[in-house]
Symmetry: C2
Subunit: 386 residues, 2 copies
Amino acid sequence: MRNVAIVGVSQTKFGEHWDKSLRDLIVEAGNAAINDSGVERKSIQSLFIGSMSSGRYAGQEHLGALAADSLRLTPIPATRFEGACASGSLAFRNAYIDVASGQHDCAIVLGVEKMTDVKGPEAITSLAAAGDQEWEAAIGLTFAGLYALMARKHMHDFGTTREQMAMVSVNNHKNGVANKYAQFQMPITVQDVLKSSLVADPLRLLDCSPLTDGAAAIVLMSEEKAKRIANPVWILGSGQGSDTLALHDRASFTEMPATVVAAKEALKGADVKISDMSLLEVHDCFSINELIALEDLGFCRKGEGGKFVESGKIAIGGEIPVNTTGGLKAGGHPVGATGVRQIIDIVRQLRGDSCNQLKNPEYGMNLNVGGSGATAVINIFGKEMK
Amino acid sequence: MRNVAIVGVSQTKFGEHWDKSLRDLIVEAGNAAINDSGVERKSIQSLFIGSMSSGRYAGQEHLGALAADSLRLTPIPATRFEGACASGSLAFRNAYIDVASGQHDCAIVLGVEKMTDVKGPEAITSLAAAGDQEWEAAIGLTFAGLYALMARKHMHDFGTTREQMAMVSVNNHKNGVANKYAQFQMPITVQDVLKSSLVADPLRLLDCSPLTDGAAAIVLMSEEKAKRIANPVWILGSGQGSDTLALHDRASFTEMPATVVAAKEALKGADVKISDMSLLEVHDCFSINELIALEDLGFCRKGEGGKFVESGKIAIGGEIPVNTTGGLKAGGHPVGATGVRQIIDIVRQLRGDSCNQLKNPEYGMNLNVGGSGATAVINIFGKEMK
């Protein structure tokens, strides 16, 4: 397996794009990433795109061909990947393997979702398709409902407080203010979260990531070709795990074994320790999920995620800055694009051209979770190749 | 890249399974393929599943996790692939690369679609999502409509007759009679086709593959492990191409450049000639597509597909037996399962345990087409490894 670098990145503004189609978003992000890389279009040999539910949201499947066509990249192989909210990272991970294994020397990864063209109930029903249709969605369990069960159990078992969960959203919104691509560039307070509308007890509106339109794109290259490119960021490791689709089939509501499996594989591949990370992008689809992620990744013991967040260690300047550009909560969550966007934000931090730029970060990790934890993908990045 | 073998295959009966869920079909095909391989469940290290529109047909996305969960394979990496009607072959091709590149030693591939639980118009609308939503589906162009345009142009340019197209369906139905997994085990005549209901002029009902429920599964293994398995079939090459999503953007309505690109890559990888093939599985979603495929693969010159079929060369015992178990037309077309089913039928012929068994076939090829030709995947198989 060869070393692989990220040589170009771009994302659209995340938000409500009523004036742009699914195709428009793909074209905007894809062309900008190609321009950012400086790579000639004819050098791109394969295409990988992640999208969860374009069939339901936009009446359009077959996104691999759509993207290759719209970006004038035909006849290269072009494939769509789906793993609920982890779709973008699945596309990325397979592109990494494609280049690392020598199938191709240069690949483009895209992630996209256009969610705001359907009515609210249809958006919620479509998202529920990430869980178990027969055993969860069919009885009315929404995605907020699933994460509310996790939050309630975490509070019950470990004494996690409502305020601690709110602090996750507060940190993400604080970081999103300077991010021009974020859906919400506004700070919020713990009181704002606690006073926001109840969605699924104990989760409130400001615990929940929004419905979002957006696309993101990355250009990858093999070591020998990337060396000629200025400021590449290196992919050091990747891991993927699965778990039961339905939450009630798990041994625990407060941990995600798929994350543990994916982290172990990624860290082994990268030959680094979790404590080596300079920053994290974790999947804060609901505030409780960021707490669970910090515990499952080993930044604190199980049950101590609330205290860890309260201690301020996840802030910029803290022990392990998390979601330095706003995460899913403030940045927005166009489902299929989220994993790709997480990686882009790590790349920008490692290149040194991010908003809220950290001082000389060396390693970054993204955790992208599908559904209520049935899929987890983790990738590790570094300024220097292995 | 290592040699990779197919060591186990299975499919459900294709047809209308109103008493079985999407999950039931996955479990039935998956468990049967594992049993067919004799491989222990714990040896399977990765999962690949193809499905086009489970979100629309069954309200269920996130099929990688669903399959890993239902087949008791968690926490292995489990990923869904989508490329319209080529979804199954995309899953297969990526599993092949996964094992060939040394990521894993043993993988399972699944393909599934559960299409008959929705009403007719919704089924047609969902299928149209394989084409261009903005430029084709939105103006009312159905999939039969797209292929009707190709058929009309082929008749106009090359003098292809209605009877010649009907002979494609007649051959497929003849081959399907002995196939216990086929949706339709009945012979039809040219007159039956010509008298069947008009769907999209000039295509009639018996030119069109049906809506189908079904699943198919394959177990793959690396060379060193597969040597211990009885009667493996070897994957010799694989190719994938893309083209414009919309038909009207192509230079020609009567050829599919994605097929040509995919065939070139697969033949080069396998180091064989197209004339070495002992049998073909081609994508006869509509009768005209089988003619176009035979031309694009080089079995006859462009425009001579009709005469080639009329000559009887595609029959069992002919020069190049095509769709020896009934193809999509008689066998059924559960979209995401079709590519996997094509491969299974080649494997059975090469192993020597197929219905309509050929005498000592050496090489087989499947062509799986997505949409109106915007994706094409071709795989080549042999009795002996490279």
